[in-house]
């Protein structure tokens, strides 16, 4: 689903990624470990082109995202990101956070289809929907998703009224509302109070059980061990070691991996 070829990224003189090769298949749960500053976030942000790679290619469904002609927004809708600091829309209610992007996408599709119809070009009939219908369906879906994470009663609250754990659960279902093919998580529990980490990990485990393709940067070794189908250890901008959780945690080959694990486990 995602193929990364010889990815390099520098910020000025600082070389952060030094040649990453990586393939992620549908249904995989890839956990990325590594010391602070090793380029984990940068890798994740390159995947959905929040950062422009200095060199290399990223293929998503066999489309090269580093190609300037590609409409990156369309692909991001299928590759949603969950952030360490949630980044919920502060001026929108919880439910609006969930419906904003789906409504935007459906409205755009409807407009496109209407134009195509007018010019007698091919279009999908089901794209032509009224705004009311688009909104109603997005809200219905949004409430259903909120129910999934037990936050239906918060639908009309603003994000600042929520606890960190609640915010992150909203952020996860906000991404889910786009029906993404893959979800990227950048340290989703690092900004949370310890007692809230569990509730967020629980949601992520459920996603994993449902077969969502996930790329997760985390320091939660327990989660990695339990859920990951593959673990990558990144240091100095390259993948130093990769394998099943058992291979990486119990039989690390690289001395760097060994010393990292001895510090965090």
């Amino acid at each position: 689903m995602i193929r990364v070829c010889d990815l390099h990224k520098s910020f000025g003189d600082l070389k952060v990624l030094n040649g990453i090769d990586l393939t992620i298949e549908k249904g995989e749960i890839v956990v990325i470990l590594g010391p602070s500053g090793s380029g984990k976030s940068t890798l994740l942000r390159c995947l959905n082109c929040m950062e422009d790679p200095t060199a290399g290619h990223i293929y998503f469904h066999d489309v090269d995202l580093t190609d300037m002609k590609v409409d990156i927004n369309v692909h991001r809708q299928k590759m949603c990101m969950v952030f360490q600091h949630f980044n919920l829309f502060n001026n929108k209610t919880v439910l609006q956070n969930l419906t904003l992007a789906p409504i935007y996408v459906a409205k755009k599709a409807a407009r496109k289809a209407r134009v195509a119809k007018f010019f007698k070009r091919p279009y999908a009939e089901e794209d032509i929907r009224s705004l009311k219908d688009i909104k109603a369906r997005a809200e219905e879906k949004g409430m259903e998703l909120l129910g999934k994470v037990g936050l239906q009663d918060k639908a009309d609250e603003y994000p600042s009224k929520l606890s960190g754990g609640q915010k992150q659960r909203v952020a996860i279902v906000r991404a889910l509302a786009m029906e993404p093919d893959v979800m990227l998580f950048d340290e989703p529990t690092s900004a949370l109070d310890p007692e809230m980490v569990g509730e967020v990990l629980e949601v992520m485990k459920e996603l994993a059980r449902d077969g969502m393709t996930m790329v997760v940067v985390t320091h939660e070794m327990g989660f990695a061990h339990e859920v990951a189908s593959r673990v990558l250890f990144i240091d100095e901008g390259i993948i130093m070691e990769e394998g099943t959780p058992d291979e990486v945690f119990n039989h690390p080959k690289h001395p760097r991996t060994q010393s990292f694990l001895s510090k965090v486990l």
Binding site: N48, M50, D52, N73, V74, H75, R76, Q77, K78, C80, M81, F83, H85, F86, N87, L88, F89, N90, N91, K92, L100, A101, Y104, V105, Y158, S160, K161, R174, A175, M178
Partner: protein
């Protein structure tokens, strides 16, 4: 001060009996119209410019737009508004062969001018919004402009509302220059009454009072608005 009563009498005669109040009402109307419409135009222009200026500058088009915007802002902030007004009315419009009433030209120039100032205010407001808001929007596949319009600018506007209120006060006070191109504003109305009666003390005193009252009322409204916003911030 001895003959203040006499002056007041002359003024009242001119104001009431000779219907000077018509002029004053017209002046008040124009002053408010120019300031309000100027502010509205300024907000639209200022928001657009601010959005351009915070755009990522990888590609050519945003860079060119950014250049155009900085020239625009530099021009309108770097020259006195009277000069802009005179240049528009006596140079640009005749050259282009366009006919406009003094009030329309004044409104336009006030809008263009405050657009330059508001763009800076708005830019500050946009930069004060957590960059995570933009990232959150972009990561969901919203375009830069959609994220700007739906997420960032509403939050920025909330932060800068008090400053916008002050800009409005500035505009109201600045309208006293539009008589340079023959528009009837408050100053012009009272000036005419003074000229008619050779008596300027009471007219100009009244003018000052009207300006002060207007500004006080607007300041009060701003304060109320600020308090409301702060309240909604708490519940937010």
């Amino acid at each position: 001060m001895g003959n203040f009563d006499r002056r007041l009498e002359v003024f009242w005669e001119e104001f009431w009996v000779y219907e000077g109040y018509n002029k004053v009402l017209e002046g008040l109307k124009n002053t408010l119209f120019i300031a309000v419409m100027g502010l509205v135009i300024g907000i639209v222009i200022g928001t657009l410019i601010a959005a351009v200026r915070v755009m990522p500058k990888y590609r050519l088009v945003p860079r060119v737009l950014d250049g155009v915007c900085s020239v625009y802002v530099a021009f309108f902030r770097g020259t006195p508004m009277v000069v802009q007004l005179l240049v528009f009315y006596y140079v640009l419009l005749p050259l282009m062969g366009v006919n406009m009433t003094p009030v329309t030209v004044s409104t336009l120039v006030f809008g263009l001018n405050s657009g330059a100032y508001i763009s800076e205010i708005m830019r500050g407001g946009i930069l004060s919004v957590d960059p995570g808001q933009m990232e959150g929007g972009r990561a969901m596949g919203l375009s830069f402009s959609a994220t700007m319009m739906k997420i960032v600018i509403p939050q920025a506007v909330k932060n800068i509302l008090p400053t916008l209120g002050n800009e409005f006060i500035t505009l109201i006070k600045e309208t006293s220059i539009v008589s340079f191109v023959g528009a009837t504003d408050l100053y012009k109305a009272f000036n005419v009454m003074g000229t008619n009666t050779y008596e300027f003390m009471v007219p100009y005193l009244s003018m000052a009072l009207i300006y002060i009252v207007m500004v006080l009322i607007i300041s009060l409204l701003i304060k109320l608005m600020e308090r409301r916003l702060r309240k909604s911030d708490k519940s937010l």
